[in-house]
C-alpha cells in the first residue's frame, strides 16, 4: 500500500519534453529518501495540457505541477513527499488564488470539459491491466456476455445516438446492425487507429493512455456482430501507442479477457495489430482493409460496403479509436445517460486536439454543442500575444475553416457541415491575423497532392492542378479567371473522386473561397498578401526617417541586398532581397517594415 501516488505524464508530448528522465530521477530520489515503500511513481497517459508539460500530479493532495524539470525532482521529493510542503513555484498558475489553491477541476481548462473517452487518460497506468479493471474496466464486457443478447447490445448503442468519431459521423449502432444482419462463416472487427490529419493526436492519446478500453470495446463489438477476430490498424509512427497496445493485448490474453471462451460463456475473440506505414489514404476504410490484406493501400469502390464485403471479402465493421472508447461507458451507464449529453443529433462528447495560435495547446473533451468561442477563449485560454482570431480549421485536409462570424456556433456534426467544414477526427487549428488563408489552402492541398494514392484521375490530377493554381495566386500571377476555374475544379473533384480523400480534398479551398474571398482578390487584383505571408507579394523597405545607419541590417542580410554607409540611410535592393525578414527582426529602431 502506498500513501502517495506520483503520476507522471508519459504521453508523447511530455515524453518529448523529458518526462522519462523525470520518472527515473523521481524513483532514485524516493529511494534515497527511504520512501520507496510509501510512495509509488506511476507513468500515465496524456492529461491534455500538453503546452505545459512535463506534467506531474501528486495524490492524495492532487497537486498539479507543470513544466517540471529533472532538477526540480530532489526538491519535490524532499519537500512535498517527505515533509508535505507543496513546491509552490511549480504549481499550475491557474490553480493559485488569493484564498489558497483551487481544485484542478475548477480551472478554466478543465471546468467545462467532460471526460468520457479520455476518462482514464492521465489517471491510470496504461501498462497495468489491474488499474484499468480498478476503474470498472472489462465490467461492460462481462455484462454484455452474461446479460445481453447481441441484439440488445446493438439496440443500446443505437439508442445512445453514438456516431462515428473518425469524421463521417455515421451512426455506430446502425453500422453494427448492418454487419450483424449479414450471414457469413467469418466476420471481422477493425479499429481505425491510422490518425493522419496534420495536427490531430486524439486517438494517439487514447491508445497511449488507455489501450484496454479499445480492446474491451472491440470484444463487445465482436459479440454484437458475431465476429471472433479483430484487427487494430495503427500507424508505425506512433511507437508508444504500438508498444502499449502490445502490452495490453498480452495482459488481456493472460487474463483470458481475449482468446477462447471468455468469462466461460463460449465466446471467442482475439485481436491482432497491423502496423501502417503512414499513408494518409489508409485512414479511408476500404484502403485500410486493403492494406490489412497485405496489398498496396488503395481504396476500392463502395458498394459493396464493408458491412457486406469488407476485410477478406467478409462482413466487417470498422470504427475509430475514440468511438470505441465511448462504448464500455455506454454499456455501464446506459444509453440514456449518453444521449442526455450533446445536441439533438450529435450525442455525447468529442475530443479535440487544440493547436496553432492558441495558449493551451493540448487535448480537450467537451460535450457536443459547446460553442467554438468557449473552446478557444475559455478552455483554450485565447490567442497568444493579444492577436485577433481569424479562423479555426477543423477536419484537417478534409475540412474547412470557420471564420470569426461563426464564432458562436455550437460545434456538432451537422452545424459544421452546414457552414462548409466538418467535424473530422477532431483536429482544431486556430489561426490569427498573421495567417494567410490562401496560403493555408495551399498547405492542405500540398498535403493531399502528396498523399493522393493515384488510383483515380480526379484526385491524382485534380488536386495537383488545384495546387498549381493556388501556387500561381500566391506568386502574384493569378487572374480572376483562375478563381472561377479553381471553384469549378473543386466541385468536379468532389463529384468524381473515388474515395473520401479525394471527395473532401477541395474543402479547404472551397471554404476559404467562401469566407475569405477578399483575401484571394487581394492576391489576384491588388497583388498583395494582407497577412504578409506570401513572399512573392511582399517587399521590405527601410524608413529613411527612422534609419540611424547602424549597419546591423546589412550585416545580417544573407544575400547582401542591403547597402549603405555608417550613419547614412540604408537601402534594400528589391531584386536581391529574398524576403527572409532577418533585417526586420534585428533592426533596433523599428525602421524596417514589410508590405
Amino acid at each position: 500500500m502506498y500513501r502517495s501516488h506520483v503520476l507522471v505524464c508519459g504521453g508523447t508530448g511530455c515524453t518529448s519534453s523529458g518526462s522519462t528522465k523525470i520518472i527515473e530521477s523521481l524513483k532514485s530520489e524516493i529511494k534515497k529518501n527511504g520512501l520507496s515503500t510509501e510512495v509509488s511513481v506511476v507513468q500515465t497517459g496524456c492529461h491534455g495540457l500538453c503546452a505545459l508539460g512535463p506534467i506531474v500530479i501528486i495524490y492524495p493532495e492532487a497537486t498539479f505541477y507543470t513544466m517540471v524539470k529533472e532538477e526540480d525532482v530532489p526538491e519535490i521529493v524532499s519537500e512535498h513527499l517527505l515533509k508535505g510542503r507543496i513546491v509552490s513555484r511549480l504549481i499550475y498558475t491557474e490553480m493559485v488564488t488569493d484564498g489558497g489553491l483551487k481544485s484542478l477541476n475548477d480551472t478554466n481548462f478543465y471546468k467545462k470539459q467532460h471526460r468520457i473517452a479520455l476518462r482514464n487518460c492521465g489517471v491510470i497506468n496504461p501498462e497495468n491491466i489491474d488499474e484499468y479493471i480498478g476503474t470498472n474496466g472489462y465490467e461492460a464486457l462481462g455484462k454484455v456476455l452474461t446479460e445481453y443478447t447481441p441484439d440488445q447490445v446493438i439496440q443500446t448503442i443505437l439508442d445512445s445516438g453514438l456516431r462515428g468519431r473518425g469524421g463521417g459521423g455515421f451512426p455506430t449502432g446502425l453500422k453494427w446492425k448492418l454487419a450483424r444482419g449479414n450471414e457469413a462463416d467469418q466476420k471481422y472487427v477493425c479499429c481505425n487507429a491510422d490518425e493522419g490529419d496534420p495536427g490531430a493526436f486524439m486517438d494517439r492519446s487514447v491508445l497511449e493512455g488507455d489501450p484496454h478500453v479499445v480492446l474491451e470495446a472491440m470484444a463487445i463489438a465482436g459479440y454484437a456482430i458475431g465476429a471472433t477476430q479483430g484487427y487494430i490498424y495503427v500507424r508505425a509512427e506512433y511507437p508508444i501507442a504500438v508498444e502499449r497496445l502490445k502490452i495490453a493485448i498480452g495482459q488481456a490474453r493472460e487474463y483470458g479477457l481475449l482468446g477462447k471462451n471468455i468469462f466461460d460463456t463460449g465466446f471467442d475473440f482475439d485481436i491482432d495489430l497491423r502496423l501502417g506505414a503512414g499513408a494518409f489514404v489508409c485512414g479511408e476504410e476500404t484502403a485500410l482493409m486493403t492494406s490489412i490484406e497485405g496489398n498496396r493501400g488503395e481504396p476500392r469502390p463502395r458498394p459493396p460496403f464493408p458491412a457486406q464485403k469488407g476485410l477478406f471479402q467478409k462482413p466487417t465493421i470498422l470504427n475509430n479509436v475514440e468511438t470505441y472508447a465511448n462504448i464500455p461507458q455506454i454499456i455501464i451507464n446506459g444509453a440514456e445517460w449518453f444521449s442526455s449529453m450533446g445536441t439533438e443529433k450529435s450525442k455525447g462528447t468529442k475530443v479535440f486536439a487544440l493547436g496553432g495560435k492558441i495558449n493551451n495547446t493540448g487535448l480537450v473533451e467537451i460535450p457536443m454543442g459547446t460553442p467554438l468561442r468557449e473552446i478557444i477563449d475559455e478552455i483554450g485560454g485565447g490567442i497568444p500575444n493579444g492577436k485577433k482570431f481569424k479562423a479555426a480549421q477543423t477536419g484537417g485536409p478534409s475540412g474547412g475553416c470557420i471564420p470569426a462570424s461563426h464564432f458562436d456556433i455550437p460545434i456538432d456534426y451537422d452545424n459544421l457541415i452546414s457552414i462548409g467544414s466538418m467535424m473530422g477526427s477532431g483536429g482544431l487549428i486556430v489561426m490569427d491575423e498573421d495567417n494567410c488563408m490562401v496560403d493555408i489552402a495551399k498547405f492542405f492541398l500540398e498535403f493531399t497532392v502528396d498523399e493522393s494514392c493515384g488510383k483515380c484521375t480526379p484526385c491524382r490530377i485534380g488536386t495537383k492542378r488545384l495546387h498549381e493554381i493556388l501556387e500561381k495566386i500566391t506568386n502574384g500571377q493569378g487572374t480572376l479567371e483562375d478563381l472561377d476555374k479553381l471553384e469549378e475544379l473543386c466541385y468536379y473533384i468532389k463529384d468524381n473522386a473515388l474515395c473520401g480523400l479525394g471527395q473532401t480534398a477541395p474543402n479547404p479551398v472551397l471554404s476559404t473561397l467562401r469566407y475569405f474571398k477578399d483575401e484571394y482578390l487581394a492576391h489576384v487584383v491588388d497583388k498583395k498578401c494582407p497577412a504578409g505571408v506570401c513572399k512573392a507579394l511582399l517587399s521590405y523597405t527601410i524608413d529613411a526617417d527612422k534609419c540611424k545607419g547602424c549597419t546591423l541590417c546589412s550585416r545580417v542580410c544573407p544575400n547582401n541586398a542591403i547597402t549603405g554607409k555608417v550613419k547614412e540611410t540604408h537601402i534594400i535592393d528589391q531584386s536581391k532581397c529574398i524576403k527572409c525578414g532577418a533585417c526586420m527582426e534585428k533592426c533596433k529602431f523599428d525602421a524596417i517594415s514589410k508590405k
Binding site: R3, Y59, P60, K83, I133, N136, E139, G142, F263
Partner: protein
C-alpha cells in the same frame, strides 16, 4: 480468469488503491503533521499506518494528506480529521496503533475517540 467474481475481486482490490487519485469536495481529509517536529516524534509510521488502513478498508472517500508544522510541537504526532460539515477533530500524540483505532472507530463508525483528542489530553 473465468468468472465475473474474479474480475470483481481485482476491481475491489484496485479501487482502494486507485481511490487515492480522486478529488472531490465531499471528501474526508485526514491530515498528518509532517514537519521536522512531527517526523522526529514518529509521524511517518502514523502516516503510513493511516494510508494503509484507509486503502485496505476501501475508504475511497478519505484522503490522507500531509501538512507542515501545526504549531503544537510538544503534542506531535498530530492527526487532524476534517469531515465536510463537521467540526475539526484533532488527535495528538498518535502512534500507529492509535491511528488504526481512529480508522476503525472514527472514520468507519463515526465515533470520535475522545481520550486521544487534544481537548482531553490538555485537560
Amino acid at each position: 480468469m473465468k468468472s465475473l467474481e474474479e474480475l470483481k475481486a481485482i476491481r475491489e482490490k484496485m479501487q482502494g488503491q486507485i481511490g487515492i487519485r480522486s478529488e472531490s469536495s465531499d471528501q474526508t481529509r485526514v491530515i498528518v503533521g509532517m514537519a521536522t517536529c512531527g517526523i522526529a516524534s514518529g509521524a511517518r509510521p502514523v502516516l503510513t499506518a493511516l494510508a494503509d488502513a484507509v486503502q485496505t478498508k476501501g475508504l475511497t472517500n478519505v484522503a490522507v494528506i500531509q501538512t507542515g508544522c501545526i504549531g503544537l510541537c510538544q503534542f506531535e504526532p498530530i492527526v487532524e480529521i476534517l469531515e465536510p460539515g463537521k467540526e475539526k477533530v484533532t488527535y495528538v500524540k498518535m502512534t500507529p496503533e492509535k491511528a488504526n483505532e481512529v480508522v476503525e472507530q472514527h472514520l468507519i463508525r463515526g465515533q470520535v475517540i475522545a481520550k486521544y483528542t487534544i481537548a482531553e489530553v490538555l485537560g
